[in-house]
Symmetry: C2
């Protein structure tokens, strides 16, 4: 344990009194928000009508948050620190709001909440009140990029914010409840990915107030040396502040803050002036103070302060119970508001001076309102990196590798505001061309045999999807651009984090003072159809289903069928703002279908007829639709069989890149009108739809469409194991042969013409399954299949423009 | 650091040679599985045809797993230890399979894979081969309860297995990649929830082989003292085994195992004989050996052993590349198979003797095949705990509190094979009646003011949904029964863990030697409609959508509308096997609708007409359907308005408890036939369906139904904030007034009769909104609403059988 007081300036009594006064003011405002409708300055005794009918909010964490905030302000003023504040215990909304109000920011952004008595009354009334503001540190709270409603993400958000902000200190309060969560536990190691030259610093403050809702916390109930051992193991110097005497704690905290910032400044200086970038322990503060400190000690005979009972509203009966109300009044009067606010309710001058000024106020720091700082990426036209496509299916590329080449330009041209995040999968997902222009950043030991690992770099990899997600959220919420590349199945790990981010984006769309931030872009590769080698546990395309439950205004889903459409899609996503973009693309060698120009047009439309594969002459007898790269391949292979065997059958091929086009325009901004949809899919012909994911999603998106009774969807129906790629599609009845059978079964007009073809398909499937089980590989006619443009040499498909050889060993 | 060698028996040279031979045999079999189709004993030089066409599998972790397994076997034999083996790096399927084969278990369970040369050939061929076995430690692998496909859960699974198995040692290998994940990081603290008297032990073995797919691991690249500090902080004594000389490492490992078990045995003894249950550091082993140890050192000029390149298949070109194939042969011959297997391929006698016998073999330990040990719970008939219901809506209870009373019996009558798991929410979710008969188990410090916290108890709480989920999986997979109680919104944290468990259950249904295990039961409370106080971040009913993507055979979703239906549902779930049951129920005071007998019948049917609310006389003009407690309330309130204003309108009320009834019987085992569905919902009348979650799920489940064009669903459409309960339903247009409007809008036959009612509804909604914003509470006529049975006193609804007062302060 390091004594936080040693070797640093001590807090003078006068300053201590000031800090304490700020703290009391913030505590007073926090309590007022939870309880009061009226009588904000307690000009008279509290009466029932002064009390809210429903008491909502969390007191327990608030005094701790207020204490940290007050001392950060002191540091900011003394050292002109550029800092933002993240409240892991975001339930303590009253604290964050109180400080923003004391700093004046609140009234600037919300003029209806003035900096006077009326304003204070409104400040109190609106809290957790219908039509008012939420109870947590929500998007509505000035200075926040982190709600803390769902626990576990404060450190990863903080580190995301600190990256590429070399002068920023991100103060992150970690609740000791949150401390128990997995995502938080992993994110301590973020400090191994910080570059002391080009990144800012994170100052974690672990608030050990000892209790959760109904239990003590684990870190508060292990031996202190065990906890400190753990924190040192996480790579920190631990500065402990502990007590329940305010003056004593103020002195400790001031010293801890001074020392922590001193260490941060010295790490920065050494790295930036001396070139010493070796990782050393970053400071953190361990703050041990009572839960609900300064609140009621005993209520109804039970201890409250310093227990879990202080978690939410310590006095629950204040409207009807006179004793509770008297206790509330005593509690509020203990803060001596008359010393803090004038009779007009305005914060006294001496305290106003304690707030930093302008954008140094943490509630007004633009880094916590990233849209203010957002600059567009310098993006090349994707067509400059498009692969040459002489004819559909005439060449083969690995789409994500082609994207990697495009990202070379993006990385090079945006050296300080674009990063690629991933759980050790950037190379596996074949974005490794970027290593031509950057490295993976790593502050741990680096040895000679390591590749592309360096003290700085645009690629950030840790085997924690949670940490990656937190980083990219923190990075984009502070106005920079990011790409999160992940295996498709395991992106479900961050389902709940995505939820929270989508909710944040949805809410902030209606907050005028928050300009839009860059989108959060997912590239999901190593997808369900090509996890044949890793087996069932790696096969799950359901993240799309999860995403489309969130508000249509903020979610976009793309399934580019080849390399050029992937480029077009990704350029669009990187240009976009305030969305969550989900892009699913394969990494395996696969056919190119569209040229750059065609891809541009097709992606702009989002869905369209593929003329080169269609022979419907505007009047199809059957529509074969596809969304996703493997479904597109299988559909085209089926079409080839059908057109050879049944040349008179009028087939239309529709490819869907932008999945939300399938909804109607009242459901999603990208939705097609019914007229457009009917033009594309028809109203009374069978549609056989091969879809990348769970088939019922297509039914859900199209249930309002005229032809929904004619729609027959194939997709992943949760069948899989370790096998071959083609066996995967066969197991799920999405293979070309089955699609042909589907067409025949749903096109009665074909009559007996098709019966023998159907039997052939049945036989071929049996043969394919047999071959695979005997040879451990796919049927040669499947493996070597090419889409033969009419009049072309059928063997040419494999030869030109192959960027990488197909491997016999599937990777990873 | 503790020197693992000190003070314990050393490994004799003879025994060392034997252990090393076992290790070589296992390594040989692992390599053979990855590469060979034929020539298993290398009786001739390898030719291309001996090599599989697609090389799948993960070599890198396999030698480490084999080493641990060999030494655990030594320990088991020496001390008659009852142990199971969990491979966190479950990609190392070849290792787990190899050891099960060497122990003889494999051939017993899979006679086609005999214990001889032909068997070995089949063992090799089937691995990662179509129609064979998966590449990971899958359900097909004897001795496994943990696949390790998705990383992070090995320790929580291990602790779940150890609970209430007082003599069991669960050896859990943690990969250093997995070490970086959040769920794993949190789960170390599981050791604060172990009771040394009644629980077994977990022996974590952190395998620091240094690399992931493409990167070094974080724990391998921080200072060793930092890592050890971290591990001690997690509450462990660290026994380090490090090296790359096999003999040296064998000696260290034998000593570490001896010492670790000695410490475990002493903790058990002290607790059980001396009553000393204070937590002390549990042993763990830190094993530092090269990745891909004993494999190729250099391939194509690049280092492989001891780098990330050894992760999967170190020699990828062995079929076509003669040099690679020669290297493979050299590698395999380095294990000297001729010393290990006879010419007939049978493991030599001396090595066979190294395997423990019978169920002491980790591959045959029944704890790893929990269905063998599963005993039904002793369950009271729920009707004994049913609340009295004199008439629908005549009384009020908190459903989960009533369930809590039922669980009192369950806990009391099943003292060693039932547990309740939760993230600090058991009391918040109002299951706290159980504290009358049990406590929360906690091995941390306990202080006087703590309540219901003790060294033993049936309730296990940590603020990590991941850890809770891992525990309940480990507990049920070893044949015991569990209930996981969680806030609805945050269960999304374990979406991906649910995925993996559902896949495990699906796969094991087809494995004859794995009898069924108890279901995994979720109770989701504090649900979307009553998180009005916590706000938007706490509102998410989408877990149901996520769950129903998994195979119908293993998922069940229930939405009991009141206390007695909740009891009936939960009894059914606790009796069931091999499902994931999702039960969503409110905790707030709410009306009782059905008696115990009625609930029994209704839940057995899963969906049915509520006659007491219907007046359709078998020929409805409109159907109001509901699923979920709040939707049921709003539907009944709407029905009351409709029946009073439009007494001639023939209304049918359908309540759905078992959501999967909505699908047809070809889609889900619980699905209704079309005839039954049509009988219930009609084919051509409008159906207004109020649903608990996202409304489109109902469309998805019913898109095949005849009346799907007449179905109009209301539900949560992702609108929310901190507000009142009724404002929540209004924000999402699911309120009673809007449902009345929906009925009017879809029943043109009502004509002008209904126009004024509709306008009244519009006005009432406006008034309700206004009232709420002014008073901070719901409209009194909504708050005080009662369902009035005909001829009854309309005031009686509130008075009888109230188990808890409605609180003005919403909790938590």
């Amino acid at each position: 344990m390091v004594d936080a007081g040693q070797g640093t300036s001590s807090l003078e009594d006068a300053e201590l009194a000031e800090i304490d006064a700020w703290w009391r003011a913030a505590n007073y405002l926090a309590v007022g928000q939870i309880y009061l409708l009226d009588n904000p300055l307690l000009e008279r005794g509290l009466v029932p009508e002064d009390i809210k009918p429903r008491l909502l909010g969390h007191w327990g964490t608030s005094p701790g948050l207020n204490l940290v905030y007050a001392h950060l302000n002191r540091l900011i003023r003394r050292r002109d620190v550029n800092a933002i504040f993240l409240a892991g215990p975001g339930h303590g909304g009253p604290a964050a709001v109180a400080n923003a109000y004391l700093e004046g920011t609140y009234s600037e952004l919300y003029p209806r909440v003035g900096f006077d008595k009326d304003g204070m009354k409104e400040l109190f009334r609106q809290f957790s009140f219908p039509g008012g503001i939420p109870s947590h540190v929500a998007p509505e709270t000035p200075g926040s990029i982190h709600e803390g409603g769902e626990l576990g993400y404060v450190l990863s958000h903080a580190y995301g914010a600190a990256m590429d902000n070399p002068d920023l200190v991100v103060a992150a309060v970690v609740g000791d409840g949150e401390f128990e969560t997995g995502p938080l536990a992993a994110s301590w190691h973020s400090n191994k990915f910080l570059n002391p030259v080009t990144d800012g610093a994170v100052l974690p403050i672990l608030h050990l107030n000892g209790y959760k809702i109904a239990n003590p916390t684990v870190p508060a109930r292990i031996h202190r040396e065990e906890l400190e051992s753990l924190l040192r193991g996480y790579g920190h110097e631990v500065l402990t502040v502990e007590g329940d005497d305010p003056a004593d704690v103020h002195r400790q905290m001031a010293a801890a803050m001074d020392r922590a910032y001193g260490t941060i400044a010295e790490i920065w200086r050494a790295a930036r002036e001396d070139g010493d970038v070796e990782r050393r322990p970053w400071p953190m503060i361990l703050m041990v103070t009572p839960k609900g400190w300064t609140g009621p000690k005993v209520v109804d005979g039970l201890p409250v302060e310093g227990t879990w009972r202080a978690h939410q509203v310590p006095l629950s009966g204040t409207r009807d119970n006179d004793e509770h109300r008297a206790q509330l009044e005593e509690w509020m009067r203990s803060y001596r508001a008359e010393e803090l606010f004038g009779a007009d309710g305005v914060l006294v001058e001496e305290l106003q001076r304690l707030a930093p000024t302008g954008t140094r106020r943490m509630s007004a720091n633009p880094h916590a309102n990233g849209g203010l700082l957002t600059k567009p990426l310098r993006l090349p036209d994707f067509r400059s990196r498009a692969v040459e496509v002489t004819a559909p299916g005439a060449s083969i590329h690995e789409p994500t590798r082609v994207l990697g080449e495009y990202l070379v330009d993006v990385v090079r041209d945006n050296p300080t505001n674009f990063r690629i995040f991933g759980p050790d999968e950037t190379a596996s997902n074949r974005l490794d061309p970027v290593y031509a222009v950057t490295d993976k950043v790593f502050a741990g030991n680096i040895v000679d045999t390591d590749e592309h690992l360096a003290r700085s770099g645009r690629v950030v990899e840790i085997l924690s999807e949670h940490t990656c997600q937190g980083w990219v959220e923190g990075y984009t919420l502070t106005g920079r651009h990011g790409l999160f590349s992940c295996y498709e199945a395991f992106i479900h790990l961050v389902d709940s984090m995505f939820n929270q981010h989508a909710k944040w984006l949805k809410t902030t769309r209606d907050i005028a003072w928050r300009p839009q931030v860059p989108s959060l872009n997912y590239l999901l590769s190593s997808h369900v159809w090509r996890q044949d080698h890793n087996g069932f546990s790696h096969q799950d395309p359901g993240f799309i289903d999860h995403v489309v439950n969130k508000r249509a205004e903020v979610v976009r889903v793309y399934l580019p069928p080849d390399a050029n459409t992937l480029l077009s899609t990704m350029q669009h996503c990187l240009e976009s703002r305030h969305y969550v973009n989900v892009v699913v693309s394969g990494k395996q060698p696969s056919f190119d279908w569209l040229t750059g120009e065609e891809a541009d047009l097709h992606c702009a439309r989002g869905a369209g007829i593929w003329e080169f594969a269609s022979n419907d002459e505007g009047d199809p007898e059957v529509v074969l639709a596809c969304a996703g790269d493997v479904p597109t391949l299988e559909v085209l292979a089926a079409v080839k069989i059908l057109r050879e065997a049944l040349p008179d059958l009028r087939i239309r091929v529709v490819n869907v890149v932008d999945l939300m086009r399938l909804q109607d325009e009242t459901e999603h901004p990208h939705g097609m009108t019914h007229a457009d949809y009917d033009n594309l899919f028809g109203t009374d012909v069978p549609v056989i739809f091969a879809y990348h994911g769970y088939p019922w999603l297509i039914h859900r998106l199209t249930y309002r469409r005229a032809n929904n009774q004619h729609l027959h969807v194939r997709g992943y129906k949760e069948e899989g194991t370790t096998t071959t790629p083609f066996d995967m599609v066969m197991m799920n009845d999405m293979d070309r042969f089955h699609l042909v059978m589907d067409v025949i079964d749903r096109t009665p007009s074909l009559g007996s013409r098709a019966a023998s073809l159907r039997q052939e398909m049945v036989d071929t499937r049996r043969r394919a399954r047999q071959w695979t089980r005997e040879h451990g590989d796919d049927l040669p006619e499947v493996r070597d299949w090419v889409w033969t443009p009419e009049g072309e040499d059928p063997t040419r498909g494999r030869s030109p423009s192959v960027t990488a050889a197909a491997t016999t060993s599937a990777d990873f």
